[in-house]
Point group: C2
Chain length 355, copies 2
């Protein structure tokens, strides 16, 4: 009998109704050490290099969302926290992968993981020495979410005035670039939380990016969407809350709201928001608001990734070190790094790099 | 020179931010008497018989809705209040209509009106002695709104579980019947404000109708939409507010919200609502919420009216005296009758019959 592999993992200890807690009696996650069995046929043993940090993870541990209202199974108390990871294959019982390969996979917050080979995606070398962590973001589900949200849900075209909230975030920075440089929408307005982020979003291609923390934000948005010809026609919303409420009043007849996220309210109790006041705009302006999950378009992923690669070559998509906030993190601090998502401190994809 | 015709009219005096006022310094409407000119070519002179009372009228006098956000021009101070009416032709300068004909037209709150013949619709005799006032509701724009909301916006089919709020109202009672008896949806759940209305809505064809004023309403709705197979898939919403908030939590993946109205909040100040708390459900359940105006489907009106007539004959559509609340009203009380809309006291279409 071979020796078993030990791994540390972060398990769910308490489902947070408000902010997840790093300590105290309602500490959200607890560190544990477990023995992993040997990988079986068609399984691989992975050593984790990095984790993807995603707002959606907050929903998987929310005590107020019934299991049947999640498209990903909720994390149970005592289970390792779910997460996507970039990892190295250290042992393979599958013909698909060899020792030394790099893959992305749903591994959870663990140092080592045993995963079915079928749920791993190869992470091949990228051109220009681009970090493979981009497979967790721009060139992975995050980028695909931006792409299918805009094209399939929003039916976005050259003729659209597109507003993107959370524009400096992982999904937002892709939505801005796809709308402006790939689709060619006539105007793209970003919304972000610092002037520095805003200038970066403009560098990525946005015609303008507005700081929602500025006192003149409501006026600024109004000025950029003059009635009636300059009204926004597409709103890619990652944020929800007050920014959504305000943007609803700046949308023209027949506008489409791509309801991607509501990070402003994920930690604000069971009630979740102070309340959206402008639902009425949906009625009078004939707006369409739609939620979606990227997995609905899985049969078109290959096509989209091909387009992304071509766009990288054509300069219609810019990815570099600035497109990620990579936080070097000892395993003990994995939850702490994840919480940065809700502080709005990351620019581009927030990646946990294990050290 | 011929003698001019005098008419009384109700003009807009003050745009109400909250409840419209029948008296006092902020009285919403004022009674005036004006001289009408002679009808010109292609115009008709009408004597009003009845008015249609529509929640949408509230929007036309709201000080907080900019003109460019209304598909009908807002009423200006000093102008007669806009309204649809059923009227008799007393003089015609058009070959389309003769003296004595009955028509529906956008006349405003006036005793006599001069209107372009092109904006009048003939109101022919109905079978079984059905009152012509139904042309203002079930067999007019109200019924068409219910029909195109369900079919075009909601893409409603036999397989849907349909919830209709304001089910005893003019649009709701048509939505219930069209969903259950014309489309044949497998389950139709009405929501109304009294037990008496609920029993009437069930008589019209709803599988069940729930009283939202009942203490057990939230539980009742949950019981009628068991997770996950019994979840609602279509929500025809006339009401907005708390009923919308609750129903969002009972909708299954891919559900459609036909955003027709929000009468619960039309009089509740500039802020309009206490705030919708469950926007997040749109995201996690991939819901689609869409506003619309019936005029977008004008090219299909003839077809729909034909279907309504056939359905009346087949018993798939029931219209009788109970489908209207006709309020006999002296001209002095026209605004008072209109305000009943917001009390929720009418069953079916609220019609003002001038006496």
């Amino acid at each position: 009998m071979e020796e078993s592999i030990k791994t540390r993992q972060w398990q769910l200890a308490h489902k947070p109704r408000h902010e997840p807690q790093l300590s105290g009696p309602e500490q959200t996650f607890k560190l544990a050490e477990v023995d992993l069995p040997e990988p079986k046929d068609d399984e691989v043993l992975l050593k984790l290099l990095s984790y993807s940090n995603d707002p959606a993870q907050r929903g998987w541990i929310d005590p107020d969302i019934p299991a049947e209202r999640l498209y990903v199974p909720p994390v149970k108390i005592g289970q390792p926290m779910s997460a996507f990871g970039l990892a190295e294959v250290v042992e393979s019982k599958s013909s698909k992968f060899s020792k030394g390969d790099t893959v992305t996979a749903p591994t959870g917050w663990t140092e080592y993981a045993i995963v079915k080979a079928g749920s791993c995606q190869p992470a091949k070398d990228l051109p220009s020495g681009l970090s493979k962590t981009h497979y967790l973001g721009a060139l992975g589900l995050t980028g695909l979410t931006a792409y299918f949200g805009l094209t399939e849900v929003g039916q976005t075209t050259k003729d659209d005035v597109v507003v993107v909230s959370g524009a400096a975030g992982a999904t937002g920075m892709m939505a801005v670039q796809i709308a402006k440089k790939i689709i060619g929408s006539k105007k793209v307005i970003g919304i972000a939380g610092t002037d520095e982020k805003c200038r970066w979003v403009e560098k990525l291609g946005a015609d303008v990016c507005l700081n929602y923390k500025s006192k003149s934000f409501a006026e600024d948005l109004k000025k950029e969407t003059p009635a009636p010809d300059g009204y926004a026609s597409v709103f890619y919303d990652n944020v929800g809350g007050e920014i959504l409420d305000l943007t609803l009043t700046r949308m023209g007849s027949g506008g489409r709201i791509i309801a991607c996220g509501a990070i402003s309210s994920y930690n604000t109790s069971a009630e979740r928001t102070t309340g959206l006041k402008n639902w009425f705009e949906i009625i009078i302006m004939r707006l369409k608001a739609q939620g979606f999950i990227v997995l609905d378009y899985a049969n078109k992923f290959g096509q989209a990734i091909e387009l992304f690669n071509k766009s990288l070559q054509d300069g219609k998509l810019t990815l570099d070190e600035s497109s990620e906030t990579v936080v070097k993190t000892p395993f003990e601090d994995v939850p702490k790094t994840w919480l940065k998502l809700f502080e709005g401190s990351n620019q581009g994809k927030l990646v946990t790099q294990l050290v």
